[in-house]
Amino acid sequence: MSEPLLRAVEVRKSYGHTEVLKGIDLEVHRGQVVCLLGPSGAGKSTFLRCLNHLETIDSGQVWVDGEPIGFRLRGGKLYELREKDVARQRRDIGMVFQRFNLFGHRTALENVVEGPVRVLGTDPDRARSEALELLDRVGLAHRADAYPAQLSGGQQQRVAIARSLAMKPKLMLFDEPTSALDPELVGEVLAVMGTLAREGMTMVVVTHEMAFAAEAADEVVFLADGAVVETGPPERVLKAPEHERTRQFLARVLS
């Protein structure tokens, strides 16, 4: 197999005296979908936020497409980057948040256009037509001029996905994208994510949606207490888990 697109090595992170990530390793290859599962407090979201340097890690490394995130490799040493340079690295890593976090003072279309125009310097007219295409892909072309407050949670999350895609990222991170949604709106967001997965987007997804993991994931990683308990294809980890901890968790969420 080729070099993985994402490689996390021994990622450690503590808040005060509490170690929330106890040396996590992860490899994600191009076009792969990896779901991170586990009980709340397992460190899934924290780990995901380390992947685009929203959280700084205490030790270990995160490599995306051969670049150490948050650092510059020179002469065998990793030099910490300034926030401005980290921003450049983040262009290639999309992120979708549990609480959507659409810019409240901008319309759906403006939310999607913001990144390409302001960050990538794309021509505004071109960015606009591309943004409209993206909104069409997530089924919201007709809501382009709506403000976030006028959209349902599911619609907001789909706009948020379009906003990330507008940056043409190599990698997409999803942080519990359906957890803040009413049950009847979960489906529309998962459908968009499923399509994205089939189209070959590389995705790391923190989720509690076992059905999505079973269907879309190439690999699931089960985390508990800041460590990887078990990794493997969904049909094995979800159907025949090897570890007691995984079994207990699955018994609880699937019941």
Binding site: R90, F97, N101, P148, Q150, S152
Partner: protein
């Protein structure tokens, strides 16, 4: 139980409202009657309103207030950013700045700037290789107007710093994270995402402060700046019609304050879009309320 026939409803009679309305009107009428006994030459008030020196006073009041507020806003944003910085020295400095300039009475600050020449007869900023960038007598450098401006602006900047800080804090951290996630730099995040949404919280108290500032310029009369109060005193020192000239000044204050209030209203409306920020976060509760926007704009 009653049949198909609907029973008539007798509405509650709000006697208390009638009584209090009558009391208020009677009190106002008595007050008006009392005021009518005042020995005021009403006829001269319109003249004083349009006296030339009043126009000068009005201009100085407005210019002093606008420039002071503008300087205060710029300084306030800077101090607020320092206050939120990760640098402990910057934080400490900002806290000290606010403590000092908010703590001292404005009048005292104006007097200190005005009398600076007593302790620093000249102000010099030397250049590294000889010569001066600034080398001037303090009295020339700091006129009465400049002293008033410094006093008002620096005092207000301390308040603005707190207002701006509250505004920045009111914007959900998720907004900053979303901006970061699409590769925006910290500066762009502040300008494009955080500040516009903070305006919703910043504008109303800033409007209040500006109205206070308009009235606060009256303190400049103490050091001889010809603003409205000083202009009124100028007129009355000639004709001894103290109350009439003060009423003329009062009319101008009300005009200026009313105009500022209207301006604030439109400014708040212009930034109404930012109001959708927190609403969006409460999106779940507002589902099915497509009129949210039109109701606000």
């Amino acid at each position: 139980m009653a049949g198909a026939e609907p029973l008539p409803i007798v509405r509650l009679k709000h006697w208390g409202r009638w009584v209090s309305a009558v009391v208020i009107i009677v009190v106002l009428a008595l007050l008006g009657f009392g005021l009518a006994q005042a020995q005021i030459e009403w006829g001269s008030v319109p003249d004083f309103v349009f006296y030339r020196v009043m126009a000068v006073g009005l201009l100085n009041t407005v210019v002093l207030a606008v420039v002071s507020q503008a300087v205060a806003i710029v300084l306030g944003v800077l101090i607020a950013l320092l206050r939120r910085s990760a640098n402990p020295v910057a934080k400490w400095f900002a806290a000290g700045y606010i403590w000092l300039f908010r703590g001292l009475p404005v009048l005292l600050q104006i007097l200190i700037w005005y009398n600076l020449a007593l302790i620093f007869p000249t102000i010099s900023i030397p250049l590294p290789f000889g010569g001066y960038l600034v080398h001037e007598q303090t009295n020339v450098l700091i006129s009465a107007f400049t002293a008033a401006l410094l006093g008002l602006a620096l005092n207000e900047s301390a308040y603005m710093a707190e207002i701006v800080r509250a505004g920045l804090t009111s914007v959900d951290t998720g907004q900053t994270e979303a901006a970061k996630s699409i590769g925006m730099t910290p500066g762009a995040t502040l300008r494009r995402v955080v500040l516009p949404q903070a305006m919703r919280v910043i504008i109303p108290p800033t409007g209040n402060d500006f109205i206070n500032m308009l009235k606060g310029t009256s303190m400049a009369s103490v050091i001889g700046v010809t603003e409205l109060i000083h202009a009124a005193n100028n007129i009355s020192s000639n004709n001894l019609l103290v109350m009439e000239t003060l009423i003329a000044a009062a009319i101008w204050y009300m005009v200026v304050v009313t105009v500022a209030g209207i301006g604030q209203h439109y400014l708040e409306r212009a930034f109404g879009a930012a109001d959708r920020g927190p609403v969006a976060r409460a999106g779940r509760a507002l589902r099915g309320m497509p009129l949210v926007r039109s109701a606000r704009v």
